[in-house]
Symmetry: none
Subunit: 219 residues, 2 copies
DNA sequence: CATTGTTTTAAGGTTACTTTAAGTATTCCC
DNA sequence: GGGAATACTTAAAGTAACCTTAAAACAATG
Protein backbone atom coordinates (compact mmCIF):
# COMPACT_ATOMS: atom_id res chain seq x y z
CA UNK A 1 0.00 0.00 0.00
CA UNK A 2 1.28 3.46 -0.94
CA UNK A 3 0.93 6.05 1.77
CA UNK A 4 1.17 9.81 1.66
CA UNK A 5 2.50 11.23 4.90
CA UNK A 6 1.62 14.89 5.43
CA UNK A 7 3.69 16.09 8.36
CA UNK A 8 5.61 19.29 8.94
CA UNK A 9 7.55 18.20 12.01
CA UNK A 10 10.62 16.80 10.29
CA UNK A 11 11.83 14.78 13.23
CA UNK A 12 8.53 13.02 13.63
CA UNK A 13 8.30 12.52 9.87
CA UNK A 14 11.70 10.89 9.77
CA UNK A 15 10.78 8.51 12.56
CA UNK A 16 7.50 7.60 10.92
CA UNK A 17 9.09 7.04 7.54
CA UNK A 18 11.57 4.67 9.06
CA UNK A 19 9.04 2.75 11.07
CA UNK A 20 6.47 2.53 8.30
CA UNK A 21 8.84 1.34 5.64
CA UNK A 22 10.16 -1.26 8.05
CA UNK A 23 6.57 -2.51 8.21
CA UNK A 24 6.42 -2.83 4.45
CA UNK A 25 4.52 0.31 3.57
CA UNK A 26 5.63 2.54 0.71
CA UNK A 27 5.60 6.12 1.95
CA UNK A 28 5.87 9.50 0.29
CA UNK A 29 6.45 12.42 2.55
CA UNK A 30 5.36 16.04 2.05
CA UNK A 31 5.36 18.80 4.63
CA UNK A 32 2.86 21.32 3.25
CA UNK A 33 -0.81 21.21 2.44
CA UNK A 34 -0.13 22.46 -1.06
CA UNK A 35 2.14 19.58 -1.92
CA UNK A 36 -0.26 17.18 -0.30
CA UNK A 37 -3.12 18.35 -2.48
CA UNK A 38 -1.19 18.01 -5.70
CA UNK A 39 -0.11 14.54 -4.76
CA UNK A 40 -3.69 13.62 -3.95
CA UNK A 41 -4.87 15.02 -7.25
CA UNK A 42 -2.30 12.91 -9.04
CA UNK A 43 -3.84 9.83 -7.41
CA UNK A 44 -0.43 8.90 -6.26
CA UNK A 45 -1.35 7.05 -3.11
CA UNK A 46 -3.83 4.61 -1.63
CA UNK A 47 -4.21 6.36 1.71
CA UNK A 48 -3.13 9.51 3.54
CA UNK A 49 -1.71 10.10 7.01
CA UNK A 50 -2.44 13.72 7.79
CA UNK A 51 -1.12 15.83 10.63
CA UNK A 52 -3.62 18.57 11.33
CA UNK A 53 -1.04 21.09 12.44
CA UNK A 54 0.30 22.35 9.13
CA UNK A 55 2.08 25.66 8.53
CA UNK A 56 0.32 26.79 5.34
CA UNK A 57 -3.19 25.50 5.61
CA UNK A 58 -5.68 24.29 8.16
CA UNK A 59 -5.58 20.53 8.21
CA UNK A 60 -9.35 20.21 8.34
CA UNK A 61 -9.54 22.35 5.21
CA UNK A 62 -7.17 20.07 3.43
CA UNK A 63 -9.24 17.12 4.55
CA UNK A 64 -12.35 18.71 3.13
CA UNK A 65 -10.75 19.44 -0.21
CA UNK A 66 -9.32 15.98 -0.46
CA UNK A 67 -12.72 14.55 0.26
CA UNK A 68 -14.34 16.57 -2.49
CA UNK A 69 -11.74 15.54 -5.00
CA UNK A 70 -11.16 11.90 -4.18
CA UNK A 71 -14.31 10.68 -2.57
CA UNK A 72 -13.12 7.65 -0.72
CA UNK A 73 -9.43 8.06 -0.39
CA UNK A 74 -8.87 6.94 3.21
CA UNK A 75 -7.40 9.58 5.49
CA UNK A 76 -5.97 8.86 8.92
CA UNK A 77 -5.63 12.03 10.94
CA UNK A 78 -2.90 12.74 13.50
CA UNK A 79 -3.47 15.54 15.94
CA UNK A 80 -2.25 17.09 19.12
CA UNK A 81 -5.57 18.71 19.79
CA UNK A 82 -7.77 16.88 22.15
CA UNK A 83 -11.36 17.22 23.17
CA UNK A 84 -14.25 15.40 21.63
CA UNK A 85 -15.55 18.26 19.53
CA UNK A 86 -12.44 18.44 17.42
CA UNK A 87 -12.49 14.72 16.91
CA UNK A 88 -16.04 14.77 15.70
CA UNK A 89 -15.33 17.56 13.29
CA UNK A 90 -12.47 15.55 11.86
CA UNK A 91 -14.50 12.43 11.46
CA UNK A 92 -17.47 14.16 9.95
CA UNK A 93 -15.31 15.92 7.41
CA UNK A 94 -14.18 12.61 6.12
CA UNK A 95 -11.33 11.28 8.17
CA UNK A 96 -11.53 7.53 8.39
CA UNK A 97 -9.70 7.38 11.63
CA UNK A 98 -8.07 9.50 14.23
CA UNK A 99 -4.99 9.26 16.41
CA UNK A 100 -4.18 11.68 19.19
CA UNK A 101 -0.51 12.46 19.79
CA UNK A 102 1.36 11.00 21.43
CA UNK A 103 0.43 7.60 20.07
CA UNK A 104 2.11 4.20 20.06
CA UNK A 105 3.56 3.05 16.75
CA UNK A 106 1.91 -0.38 16.88
CA UNK A 107 -1.45 1.30 17.14
CA UNK A 108 -0.74 3.30 14.00
CA UNK A 109 0.24 0.11 12.19
CA UNK A 110 -2.90 -1.63 13.34
CA UNK A 111 -5.08 1.18 12.08
CA UNK A 112 -3.30 1.24 8.73
CA UNK A 113 -3.87 -2.47 8.40
CA UNK A 114 -7.59 -1.90 8.89
CA UNK A 115 -7.56 0.57 6.02
CA UNK A 116 -5.54 -1.81 3.89
CA UNK A 117 -7.94 -4.65 4.45
CA UNK A 118 -10.84 -2.44 3.53
CA UNK A 119 -9.28 -1.29 0.28
CA UNK A 120 -8.70 -4.84 -0.85
CA UNK A 121 -12.32 -5.73 -0.75
CA UNK A 122 -14.05 -2.92 -2.55
CA UNK A 123 -16.33 -4.87 -4.82
CA UNK A 124 -18.07 -3.24 -7.75
CA UNK A 125 -19.92 -5.37 -10.22
CA UNK A 126 -18.97 -3.46 -13.29
CA UNK A 127 -18.72 -4.82 -16.80
CA UNK A 128 -17.25 -2.62 -19.49
CA UNK A 129 -17.18 -3.58 -23.14
CA UNK A 130 -16.25 -1.16 -25.84
CA UNK A 131 -18.12 2.03 -24.98
CA UNK A 132 -20.74 0.32 -22.89
CA UNK A 133 -20.56 0.12 -19.14
CA UNK A 134 -22.99 -1.91 -17.07
CA UNK A 135 -23.15 -1.73 -13.28
CA UNK A 136 -25.15 -4.67 -12.03
CA UNK A 137 -25.33 -3.51 -8.45
CA UNK A 138 -26.52 0.00 -9.28
CA UNK A 139 -28.75 -1.07 -12.17
CA UNK A 140 -27.07 1.47 -14.34
CA UNK A 141 -25.87 1.59 -17.92
CA UNK A 142 -23.63 4.16 -19.53
CA UNK A 143 -22.83 4.54 -23.20
CA UNK A 144 -19.84 6.76 -23.84
CA UNK A 145 -20.13 8.00 -20.24
CA UNK A 146 -23.70 9.02 -20.88
CA UNK A 147 -26.29 7.39 -18.64
CA UNK A 148 -28.89 5.47 -20.58
CA UNK A 149 -32.17 4.40 -19.13
CA UNK A 150 -33.26 0.86 -19.74
CA UNK A 151 -36.44 -0.84 -18.69
CA UNK A 152 -36.31 -3.89 -16.46
CA UNK A 153 -36.41 -6.47 -19.21
CA UNK A 154 -34.00 -4.55 -21.38
CA UNK A 155 -31.55 -4.42 -18.51
CA UNK A 156 -31.86 -8.14 -17.79
CA UNK A 157 -31.30 -8.96 -21.40
CA UNK A 158 -28.26 -6.74 -21.82
CA UNK A 159 -26.78 -8.08 -18.62
CA UNK A 160 -27.12 -11.68 -19.81
CA UNK A 161 -25.43 -10.80 -23.06
CA UNK A 162 -22.61 -8.81 -21.54
CA UNK A 163 -21.91 -11.38 -18.86
CA UNK A 164 -21.14 -13.91 -21.52
CA UNK A 165 -19.49 -11.54 -23.94
CA UNK A 166 -17.64 -13.26 -26.73
CA UNK A 167 -19.89 -16.29 -26.57
CA UNK A 168 -23.20 -16.83 -28.23
CA UNK A 169 -26.42 -16.85 -26.24
CA UNK A 170 -29.14 -18.87 -27.87
CA UNK A 171 -32.66 -17.55 -28.05
CA UNK A 172 -33.69 -20.33 -25.67
CA UNK A 173 -31.06 -19.41 -23.11
CA UNK A 174 -32.06 -15.79 -23.20
CA UNK A 175 -35.75 -16.50 -22.90
CA UNK A 176 -35.04 -18.87 -20.04
CA UNK A 177 -33.21 -16.21 -18.10
CA UNK A 178 -35.72 -13.46 -18.78
CA UNK A 179 -38.80 -15.41 -17.94
CA UNK A 180 -39.66 -17.59 -15.00
CA UNK A 181 -41.15 -21.01 -15.38
CA UNK A 182 -44.82 -20.49 -15.87
CA UNK A 183 -44.62 -17.49 -18.11
CA UNK A 184 -43.07 -18.60 -21.35
CA UNK A 185 -43.66 -16.13 -24.04
CA UNK A 186 -45.55 -17.16 -27.12
CA UNK A 187 -44.39 -14.53 -29.46
CA UNK A 188 -41.43 -12.48 -30.55
CA UNK A 189 -41.06 -10.40 -27.40
CA UNK A 190 -37.37 -11.15 -27.27
CA UNK A 191 -36.81 -9.70 -30.70
CA UNK A 192 -38.73 -6.61 -29.77
CA UNK A 193 -36.53 -6.05 -26.75
CA UNK A 194 -33.41 -6.60 -28.81
CA UNK A 195 -34.67 -4.08 -31.26
CA UNK A 196 -35.39 -1.50 -28.58
CA UNK A 197 -32.03 -2.12 -26.95
CA UNK A 198 -30.18 -1.56 -30.18
CA UNK A 199 -31.70 1.88 -30.50
CA UNK A 200 -30.00 2.82 -27.23
CA UNK A 201 -26.62 1.20 -27.84
CA UNK A 202 -23.78 1.74 -30.32
CA UNK A 203 -24.33 0.41 -33.81
CA UNK A 204 -23.63 -3.33 -34.14
CA UNK A 205 -23.01 -3.75 -30.41
CA UNK A 206 -25.40 -6.70 -30.37
CA UNK A 207 -24.75 -9.10 -33.18
CA UNK A 208 -27.25 -11.55 -34.61
CA UNK A 209 -26.35 -15.11 -35.49
CA UNK A 210 -29.04 -16.34 -37.75
CA UNK A 211 -30.67 -19.53 -36.56
CA UNK A 212 -28.66 -19.53 -33.36
CA UNK A 213 -28.92 -16.47 -31.16
CA UNK A 214 -27.17 -13.24 -30.20
CA UNK A 215 -23.82 -12.11 -28.89
CA UNK A 216 -21.73 -9.11 -27.99
CA UNK A 217 -18.01 -9.17 -28.61
CA UNK A 218 -15.40 -8.35 -26.04
CA UNK A 219 -13.45 -6.18 -28.49
CA UNK B 1 -28.19 2.18 7.75
CA UNK B 2 -29.09 -0.99 9.64
CA UNK B 3 -27.12 -1.61 12.80
CA UNK B 4 -26.83 -4.66 14.98
CA UNK B 5 -26.26 -3.73 18.60
CA UNK B 6 -24.65 -6.50 20.65
CA UNK B 7 -24.90 -5.42 24.26
CA UNK B 8 -25.82 -7.35 27.38
CA UNK B 9 -26.28 -4.39 29.70
CA UNK B 10 -29.97 -3.78 29.13
CA UNK B 11 -30.00 -0.26 30.51
CA UNK B 12 -27.21 0.83 28.25
CA UNK B 13 -28.81 -0.97 25.34
CA UNK B 14 -32.09 0.82 25.89
CA UNK B 15 -30.40 4.20 25.98
CA UNK B 16 -28.41 3.46 22.85
CA UNK B 17 -31.47 2.22 21.00
CA UNK B 18 -33.32 5.39 21.77
CA UNK B 19 -30.47 7.69 20.87
CA UNK B 20 -29.55 5.85 17.69
CA UNK B 21 -33.02 5.65 16.28
CA UNK B 22 -33.49 9.33 16.99
CA UNK B 23 -30.44 9.84 14.78
CA UNK B 24 -32.10 7.92 12.01
CA UNK B 25 -30.34 4.60 12.36
CA UNK B 26 -32.30 1.37 12.19
CA UNK B 27 -31.16 -0.77 15.09
CA UNK B 28 -31.65 -4.39 16.03
CA UNK B 29 -30.62 -5.38 19.49
CA UNK B 30 -29.34 -8.73 20.75
CA UNK B 31 -27.71 -9.46 24.06
CA UNK B 32 -25.79 -12.66 23.43
CA UNK B 33 -22.99 -13.65 21.12
CA UNK B 34 -25.01 -16.55 19.81
CA UNK B 35 -27.85 -14.38 18.62
CA UNK B 36 -25.38 -11.92 17.22
CA UNK B 37 -23.74 -14.59 15.10
CA UNK B 38 -26.98 -15.85 13.64
CA UNK B 39 -27.99 -12.33 12.74
CA UNK B 40 -24.65 -11.72 11.11
CA UNK B 41 -24.97 -14.94 9.15
CA UNK B 42 -28.35 -13.82 7.91
CA UNK B 43 -26.68 -10.69 6.53
CA UNK B 44 -29.31 -8.66 8.18
CA UNK B 45 -27.29 -5.56 9.00
CA UNK B 46 -24.81 -3.16 7.50
CA UNK B 47 -22.65 -2.75 10.58
CA UNK B 48 -22.25 -4.06 14.12
CA UNK B 49 -21.77 -2.31 17.43
CA UNK B 50 -20.18 -4.89 19.69
CA UNK B 51 -19.66 -4.74 23.41
CA UNK B 52 -16.70 -6.94 24.27
CA UNK B 53 -18.05 -7.92 27.66
CA UNK B 54 -20.59 -10.58 26.79
CA UNK B 55 -21.91 -13.30 29.11
CA UNK B 56 -21.73 -16.31 26.79
CA UNK B 57 -18.72 -15.70 24.60
CA UNK B 58 -15.55 -13.71 24.44
CA UNK B 59 -16.17 -10.63 22.37
CA UNK B 60 -12.90 -10.94 20.48
CA UNK B 61 -13.88 -14.48 19.54
CA UNK B 62 -17.15 -13.27 18.15
CA UNK B 63 -15.29 -10.62 16.22
CA UNK B 64 -13.02 -13.22 14.72
CA UNK B 65 -15.86 -15.47 13.66
CA UNK B 66 -17.78 -12.60 12.19
CA UNK B 67 -14.70 -11.59 10.23
CA UNK B 68 -14.32 -15.09 8.82
CA UNK B 69 -17.90 -15.24 7.74
CA UNK B 70 -18.54 -11.71 6.52
CA UNK B 71 -15.21 -10.33 5.47
CA UNK B 72 -15.91 -6.65 5.47
CA UNK B 73 -18.86 -6.20 7.71
CA UNK B 74 -17.82 -3.15 9.73
CA UNK B 75 -17.62 -3.71 13.46
CA UNK B 76 -17.36 -0.94 16.01
CA UNK B 77 -16.18 -2.25 19.33
CA UNK B 78 -17.23 -0.89 22.72
CA UNK B 79 -15.11 -1.81 25.69
CA UNK B 80 -14.38 -1.02 29.26
CA UNK B 81 -10.89 -2.47 29.01
CA UNK B 82 -8.18 0.00 28.44
CA UNK B 83 -4.56 -0.24 27.44
CA UNK B 84 -3.17 -0.14 23.97
CA UNK B 85 -2.52 -3.86 23.63
CA UNK B 86 -6.16 -4.74 23.80
CA UNK B 87 -7.00 -2.07 21.31
CA UNK B 88 -4.51 -3.37 18.81
CA UNK B 89 -5.75 -6.89 19.22
CA UNK B 90 -9.24 -5.67 18.48
CA UNK B 91 -8.23 -3.76 15.40
CA UNK B 92 -6.11 -6.51 13.95
CA UNK B 93 -8.87 -9.02 14.38
CA UNK B 94 -11.04 -6.87 12.20
CA UNK B 95 -12.70 -4.20 14.24
CA UNK B 96 -13.02 -1.04 12.19
CA UNK B 97 -13.10 1.21 15.16
CA UNK B 98 -12.93 1.29 18.88
CA UNK B 99 -14.61 3.24 21.66
CA UNK B 100 -13.61 3.02 25.29
CA UNK B 101 -16.37 3.33 27.86
CA UNK B 102 -17.48 5.75 29.03
CA UNK B 103 -17.85 7.52 25.72
CA UNK B 104 -19.83 10.53 24.55
CA UNK B 105 -22.85 9.83 22.35
CA UNK B 106 -21.88 12.38 19.70
CA UNK B 107 -18.59 10.62 19.25
CA UNK B 108 -20.38 7.35 18.68
CA UNK B 109 -22.60 9.01 16.08
CA UNK B 110 -19.59 10.53 14.36
CA UNK B 111 -17.85 7.19 14.13
CA UNK B 112 -20.96 5.52 12.82
CA UNK B 113 -21.20 8.19 10.19
CA UNK B 114 -17.67 7.37 9.09
CA UNK B 115 -18.64 3.76 8.64
CA UNK B 116 -21.78 4.80 6.87
CA UNK B 117 -19.91 7.00 4.49
CA UNK B 118 -17.53 4.23 3.69
CA UNK B 119 -20.28 1.79 2.93
CA UNK B 120 -22.17 4.10 0.69
CA UNK B 121 -20.74 6.62 -1.66
CA UNK B 122 -18.26 8.89 0.01
CA UNK B 123 -20.61 11.57 1.14
CA UNK B 124 -19.74 13.76 4.07
CA UNK B 125 -22.29 14.69 6.65
CA UNK B 126 -23.40 17.48 4.39
CA UNK B 127 -24.66 16.37 1.03
CA UNK B 128 -25.68 18.94 -1.53
CA UNK B 129 -27.25 17.93 -4.79
CA UNK B 130 -28.78 20.42 -7.13
CA UNK B 131 -30.80 22.73 -4.89
CA UNK B 132 -31.16 20.27 -2.07
CA UNK B 133 -28.92 20.23 0.97
CA UNK B 134 -29.08 17.49 3.57
CA UNK B 135 -27.20 17.63 6.86
CA UNK B 136 -26.97 14.15 8.31
CA UNK B 137 -25.67 15.22 11.67
CA UNK B 138 -28.15 18.06 12.23
CA UNK B 139 -31.17 16.32 10.72
CA UNK B 140 -31.81 19.27 8.53
CA UNK B 141 -32.86 19.73 4.93
CA UNK B 142 -32.79 22.89 2.89
CA UNK B 143 -34.27 23.42 -0.54
CA UNK B 144 -32.99 26.55 -2.22
CA UNK B 145 -31.65 27.72 1.15
CA UNK B 146 -35.11 27.38 2.60
CA UNK B 147 -35.39 24.98 5.54
CA UNK B 148 -37.86 22.19 4.91
CA UNK B 149 -39.26 20.02 7.65
CA UNK B 150 -39.31 16.31 7.06
CA UNK B 151 -40.64 13.59 9.29
CA UNK B 152 -38.31 10.86 10.55
CA UNK B 153 -39.12 8.36 7.85
CA UNK B 154 -39.03 10.95 5.12
CA UNK B 155 -35.61 12.05 6.29
CA UNK B 156 -34.27 8.50 6.39
CA UNK B 157 -35.55 7.82 2.94
CA UNK B 158 -34.13 10.98 1.43
CA UNK B 159 -30.82 10.34 3.13
CA UNK B 160 -30.57 6.85 1.71
CA UNK B 161 -31.29 8.17 -1.75
CA UNK B 162 -28.91 11.10 -1.58
CA UNK B 163 -26.10 9.03 -0.15
CA UNK B 164 -26.16 6.87 -3.20
CA UNK B 165 -26.85 9.64 -5.63
CA UNK B 166 -26.28 8.58 -9.18
CA UNK B 167 -27.06 4.99 -8.38
CA UNK B 168 -30.37 3.29 -8.12
CA UNK B 169 -31.78 2.09 -4.84
CA UNK B 170 -34.14 -0.81 -5.21
CA UNK B 171 -37.40 -0.90 -3.37
CA UNK B 172 -36.06 -3.78 -1.31
CA UNK B 173 -32.93 -1.90 -0.32
CA UNK B 174 -34.92 1.11 0.72
CA UNK B 175 -37.42 -0.88 2.71
CA UNK B 176 -34.60 -2.76 4.39
CA UNK B 177 -32.89 0.40 5.49
CA UNK B 178 -36.06 2.03 6.72
CA UNK B 179 -37.45 -0.82 8.73
CA UNK B 180 -35.92 -3.13 11.30
CA UNK B 181 -36.81 -6.77 11.74
CA UNK B 182 -40.15 -6.98 13.40
CA UNK B 183 -41.68 -4.12 11.52
CA UNK B 184 -41.75 -5.04 7.87
CA UNK B 185 -44.35 -3.12 6.05
CA UNK B 186 -47.07 -4.94 4.21
CA UNK B 187 -48.29 -2.23 1.97
CA UNK B 188 -47.21 0.67 -0.16
CA UNK B 189 -45.92 2.86 2.66
CA UNK B 190 -42.72 3.45 0.75
CA UNK B 191 -44.58 4.87 -2.20
CA UNK B 192 -46.56 7.13 0.04
CA UNK B 193 -43.41 8.52 1.61
CA UNK B 194 -41.90 9.06 -1.80
CA UNK B 195 -45.01 10.88 -2.84
CA UNK B 196 -44.96 13.11 0.22
CA UNK B 197 -41.27 13.79 -0.18
CA UNK B 198 -41.73 14.87 -3.75
CA UNK B 199 -44.18 17.52 -2.68
CA UNK B 200 -41.44 19.10 -0.61
CA UNK B 201 -38.61 18.80 -3.11
CA UNK B 202 -37.89 20.25 -6.55
CA UNK B 203 -39.74 18.71 -9.43
CA UNK B 204 -38.18 15.49 -10.70
CA UNK B 205 -35.58 15.41 -7.94
CA UNK B 206 -36.44 11.81 -7.16
CA UNK B 207 -36.64 9.70 -10.26
CA UNK B 208 -38.56 6.46 -10.57
CA UNK B 209 -37.18 3.46 -12.39
CA UNK B 210 -40.07 1.22 -13.01
CA UNK B 211 -39.56 -2.33 -11.86
CA UNK B 212 -36.28 -1.41 -10.21
CA UNK B 213 -36.40 1.40 -7.70
CA UNK B 214 -35.63 5.07 -7.23
CA UNK B 215 -32.68 7.40 -7.63
CA UNK B 216 -31.57 10.99 -7.45
CA UNK B 217 -28.98 12.23 -9.89
CA UNK B 218 -25.82 14.02 -8.89
CA UNK B 219 -26.22 16.71 -11.56
C1' DC C 1 -56.97 12.27 27.76
C1' DA C 2 -57.24 15.29 24.02
C1' DT C 3 -54.64 17.30 20.43
C1' DT C 4 -51.34 17.12 17.05
C1' DG C 5 -48.45 15.19 13.84
C1' DT C 6 -46.71 10.99 11.74
C1' DT C 7 -47.16 6.52 9.62
C1' DT C 8 -49.75 2.93 7.47
C1' DT C 9 -53.58 1.02 4.95
C1' DA C 10 -56.52 0.73 1.17
C1' DA C 11 -58.67 2.03 -3.26
C1' DG C 12 -58.93 4.06 -7.74
C1' DG C 13 -56.61 6.45 -11.36
C1' DT C 14 -52.56 6.94 -14.29
C1' DT C 15 -48.47 5.90 -16.61
C1' DA C 16 -45.18 3.39 -18.96
C1' DC C 17 -43.61 -1.26 -19.85
C1' DT C 18 -44.47 -5.63 -22.13
C1' DT C 19 -46.48 -8.43 -25.34
C1' DT C 20 -48.99 -9.31 -29.37
C1' DA C 21 -49.54 -9.28 -34.00
C1' DA C 22 -49.01 -7.79 -38.59
C1' DG C 23 -46.16 -5.96 -42.12
C1' DT C 24 -41.36 -5.24 -43.90
C1' DA C 25 -36.68 -6.38 -44.58
C1' DT C 26 -32.93 -9.59 -44.80
C1' DT C 27 -30.45 -13.85 -45.60
C1' DC C 28 -29.97 -18.37 -47.47
C1' DC C 29 -30.38 -21.86 -50.77
C1' DC C 30 -32.04 -23.78 -55.02
C1' DG D 1 -33.46 -14.24 -59.29
C1' DG D 2 -37.21 -16.28 -56.68
C1' DG D 3 -39.02 -18.47 -52.81
C1' DA D 4 -38.74 -19.79 -48.02
C1' DA D 5 -37.16 -19.03 -43.67
C1' DT D 6 -35.67 -16.04 -40.35
C1' DA D 7 -35.15 -11.63 -38.30
C1' DC D 8 -36.52 -6.62 -37.68
C1' DT D 9 -39.72 -2.80 -36.89
C1' DT D 10 -43.86 -0.62 -35.71
C1' DA D 11 -48.00 0.37 -33.52
C1' DA D 12 -51.80 -0.94 -30.82
C1' DA D 13 -53.73 -3.75 -26.94
C1' DG D 14 -52.99 -5.59 -22.50
C1' DT D 15 -51.03 -5.45 -18.02
C1' DA D 16 -48.23 -4.59 -14.09
C1' DA D 17 -46.09 -1.03 -11.53
C1' DC D 18 -46.55 3.21 -9.61
C1' DC D 19 -48.92 7.64 -7.84
C1' DT D 20 -52.24 10.04 -5.26
C1' DT D 21 -55.65 10.69 -2.07
C1' DA D 22 -58.18 10.18 1.99
C1' DA D 23 -59.05 8.00 6.07
C1' DA D 24 -57.73 4.97 9.92
C1' DA D 25 -54.20 3.56 13.32
C1' DC D 26 -50.58 4.94 15.99
C1' DA D 27 -47.31 7.80 18.74
C1' DA D 28 -45.78 11.84 20.95
C1' DT D 29 -46.90 16.00 23.70
C1' DG D 30 -48.82 19.02 26.71
Amino acid sequence: MRLLLVEDDLDLAKGLLLALSAQGFVVNHVSTGKHALSSIKAKDCDAVILDLGLPDMDGLDLLKQSRQREGNLPVLVLTARDGIDDRIRGLDLGADDYLVKPFAMPELFARLRVIERRLGTAATHLIKLQQVELDTSAHLVRVEDEAVSLSRREFMLLKELMESAGRIKTREQLEASLYAWGEEVASNALEVHISNLRKKLPKDFIKTLRGVGYSVSVG
